[in-house]
Symmetry: C2
Amino acid sequence: MDDLDRRLIELFAAEPRIGVLEASRRLGVARGTAQARLDKLAASGVVTGWGPDLSPEALGFPVMAFLTLEIRQGAGHDAVATHLAGIAEVLEAYTITGAGDMWARVVAQSNADLQRVIDRVLAEPGIERCTTVIALATQIPHRVLPLARSAVS
Amino acid sequence: MDDLDRRLIELFAAEPRIGVLEASRRLGVARGTAQARLDKLAASGVVTGWGPDLSPEALGFPVMAFLTLEIRQGAGHDAVATHLAGIAEVLEAYTITGAGDMWARVVAQSNADLQRVIDRVLAEPGIERCTTVIALATQIPHRVLPLARSAVS
DNA sequence: CAATCTGCGGTCCAGGTCGTCCACGCGGAC
DNA sequence: GTCCGCGTGGACGACCTGGACCGCAGATTG
């Protein structure tokens, strides 16, 4: 993860479709070098994929909310996680610090639809309580690039 | 967003490097069709980018935490958002329902490093209080694909 | 100190791909 | 009936890819 790697990532983040050759030209290095760096970045796990980024909003799910789930003692998180994984509107879920707590990001087609999503989530008996927080505005969209800039090594 | 679009997205999500021609072959359509669909998906905003996905963990930031910030009345969210945007470890931030609340996802190199990050966040005087929750395990990694499958229209 | 290794730059090649046209046929909408 | 949008198949030239080879430089090792 030296400076060349960083510039490579930034370049592809800015213009994903340029291709290896064009990238190598822009950075003033040989194509083989750029290619080797990209392969290494992928192998080391820094670059996890090149998949298309989808916008839930454009897909018809403009409402985003964060759920904090309180898991019933002894119920185990796995059952809840499996249940959440079966709900497409659940985009993300983590176990977090706190007494049996779990956190999930969900989206919905409207505020009314959010109720339906939450009800689906709560269908799992292992969930004791659920507090919902709705995202009103995006101040910082999901980003990792600045982190790559600051990463050392 | 018909079935062809969906299969196209799923295909590229599974194998991002295949190229338009190969994709059209797999789906049994003409290349021009696949290309037109991809262009349309990008134009409609469903596909927001093809950038490399970076793993904060692989970049040396294995600790993830969620901050709930209480914004001082009248301070305005913008100042806080600008401040957060200047911190690379802040990967995401939203204003949320609740009295002047804001939510942010941060990463850090270690639990000790998390303290440094939080201190940097709290350097902004517009923030009144900050509660931190640490993610222990990823139950569902960030995903949008299932949503695309369920999206209608 | 010298041998070795690794990373990098430069170059070559064949094959495949890309973006972009076009004409044509099909179905639905007016 | 006629128009329009959409998908198809084909074609074009320009370009890119993956792979290979070589030489050089610095770092590492014995």
